[in-house]
Amino acid sequence: MMKPGTLILHAAARFLVPLQLLFSVFLLLRGHNEPGGGFIAGLVAAGAFTLYLFTFGAAVTRDLMRVDPRNLIGVGLFIGMISVFPAVLQGEPFLTAQWWPVMLPGGTEIKLSTPLIFDIGVYLTVFGSVMLMMIALTEAEER
């Protein structure tokens, strides 16, 4: 096994990856109101894992991700598709946004919505897709 990264890279990656992931979730959740959104967030997450990939190699990254990227894609697409249907129950066209205000204990209101679900689907798909490509390419190269 070739040792992919250097000590400094290892440490930096261990430090940066959580930050990037955190930031990606941040971008995802507030994308509806500020620049960001599922797509951008997914790319940031993918960037994070790509850094990890370059630093620790494909096997370690797969291990870190736990989920196979294809499952991520599948689930992401499926979640994306889920947002198509709730409107049908209301007799509204596909993809019509549904908003469900949820009161958290403590008085804060959080608005769950199909656009949010959709954005999460986008996030997972983008993340999964980029990782699928990157990991496969890296594995091909590591051979």
């Binding site: 499952n71 599948g74 697409l77 499926f78 994306g80 598709m81 066209p93």
Partner: protein
């Protein structure tokens, strides 16, 4: 709410997503694929019935009224195309059961196929020009992936050309959309039609129209933009190329029909005249290309090109009868060409090659297959009483009535040359003695294996469709007539989308 107009898109998308989720389990994927394709067919028939009842079926996605959101619209043409897609979906799904290897299945054969179908259906149903681009891309990328599935050298060589030239087309399409948006500030096709109808600057519109013509012309494999098709269609897995042969170029043709009847109908003396020459060139170069070939699928591929010419001719003549002919031709050709590719797959299964020079003896060993081949082959050549005859006849009649002598002559000549090619295949593959040194164990095996039976099922079904259209063409003719009527009166489409009042 008219969910039926969305279902043909949503169903394959969902099937695709589920197939990806279950990528580990081939059996589940197979079942999903079968159920999914049947569901597309069911949904599409529902849609067809609705269109027959209501004329246009419209759904404003996300409940955003046109032109602000994306509107799905089905008129008769769309409905017909979607039904055909459903039929092809079922045929290919069945065929794939016995032609997709476990490796293919593991690497996304089924999701790719269903997402391709989703792209196709989306292209047929969307009423939004940018959304059309998106579905084109869905279709395209799915087709890229399907084309290279297997990683053979031929696939790579073909794919390089296929991918590049189609991306060029996409780029032109996208640029045209950008310019169009800059001009009229809207993306909804009905809205564009209304606005361009009232615009003062037709010359500029023609420029955009020409860009669309080129972009869709590449997708439709029209002359002189078709090169990617004969370079690649014969390289992929056979079920895949059958699906491509039937549906993909038709999406380009459909797009041409859509925009050149709905949006760019202001200056037919320029745009449609141009289309006429495109059609003539397409017919001729395609058929001549085939005459020089000795590879089963490659001949068929070139014939796709030439047949596309007939369809464009229908649009170019721009008379009611011609449009009927064009639509009829599309319907007929999808079924027939898919079927021919599927048959080429069976002969490949039996003798392990597509090279006409190495094939042979099929008539003696497999008479039933021979009949199954003759039906689509002769139909393609326009021999009555098969579907292709009516298609060709309507076009020729329209050509005669429009006094378009040159193209009519070309259309007739091309019919003859098409027959020549089909007969070449027939003579080489079926009549000729099996050349020495070809492994014919599968061919001469007494019993028909189970997987072969599965391969036969869609061929028989599609052949039956061809025969049915030939023997009972009236309903199909009426469908085509209805859609031509709608295409020539875009106001109905516009009213349906924009609510009439706007």
């Amino acid at each position: 709410m008219s969910f039926e107009v969305g279902l043909p898109i949503v169903v394959p998308l969902l099937t695709g997503a589920l197939c990806v989720m279950f990528w580990r389990y081939n059996a589940i994927q197979r079942a999903l694929s079968l159920v999914g394709s049947l569901a597309i067919l069911a949904a599409s028939i529902w849609l067809l019935v609705s269109v027959l009842n209501e004329g246009h079926v419209v759904m404003h996605m996300g409940n955003w009224v046109a032109p602000f959101g994306i509107t799905l619209v089905a008129d008769m043409l769309s409905a017909i195309m979607v039904v055909l897609t459903g039929m092809m979906a079922v045929a290919i799904a069945i065929y794939s059961l016995a032609s997709a290897s476990p490796s293919h299945e593991r690497f996304g054969y089924y999701p790719l196929m269903h997402l391709l179908l989703a792209g196709v259906c989306g292209s047929f149903l969307t009423g939004d020009i940018f959304n059309l681009y998106v579905w084109f891309e869905v279709m395209l990328v799915a087709s890229f992936a399907l084309l290279i599935l297997g990683g053979e050298r031929a696939q790579m060589e073909g794919a390089v050309k296929y991918v590049t030239l189609n991306l060029v087309s996409s780029a032109i399409f996208l640029s045209a959309i950008g310019l169009l948006y800059g001009l009229v500030g809207t993306l909804n096709m009905a809205d564009i039609a209304v606005k361009l109808g009232s615009a003062e600057n037709p010359g500029l519109i023609d420029v955009i129209a020409v860009m669309f013509l080129i972009a869709f012309g590449i997708k439709a494999a029209a002359f002189p933009l078709f090169f990617w098709l004969p370079a690649s269609y014969h390289t992929g897995p056979v079920a895949v190329s059958a699906l491509f042969a039937g549906l993909l170029t038709k999406v380009g043709v459909y797009a041409l029909f859509r925009v050149f009847t709905l949006i760019f109908n202001q200056a037919p003396e320029f745009t449609h005249e141009l289309l006429l020459w495109v059609a003539a060139g397409t017919m001729l170069t395609g058929v001549l290309g085939a005459a020089a070939q000795f590879e089963f699928r490659r001949i068929l591929s070139f014939h796709i090109v030439s047949q596309i010419g007939y369809m464009i001719l229908g649009l170019a003549l721009f008379t009611p009868l011609a449009l009927i002919g064009g639509v009829f031709y599309i319907m007929h050709h999808i079924i027939v060409k898919t079927n021919l590719f599927l048959i080429s797959g069976i002969t490949h299964r039996l003798l392990g090659t597509y090279d006409l020079k190495k094939l042979g003896g099929m008539y003696k060993a497999r008479p039933f297959l021979s009949v199954l081949f003759l039906i689509p082959a002769l139909s393609l050549a326009g021999i009555p009483p098969l579907s292709g005859f009516f298609a060709k006849f309507i076009i020729i009649r329209a050509g005669v009535e429009a006094s378009a002598w040159v193209v009519t002559f070309i259309a007739l000549l091309v019919g003859l040359l098409t027959l020549y090619s089909m007969i070449k295949i027939w003579a080489e593959v079926f009549w000729k003695k099996l050349p020495k040194g070809v492994d014919d164990t599968a061919l001469t095996a007494g019993k028909t294996s189970g997987s072969l039976v599965v391969l036969y099922i869609p061929v028989v079904l599609l052949g039956a469709c061809t025969l049915f259209i030939g023997l009972h063409g009236q309903p199909i003719y009426e469908f085509a007539e209805y859609s031509a009527q709608q295409l020539l009166n875009p106001q109905g489409y516009i009213d349906a989308v924009l609510g009439g009042g706007q």
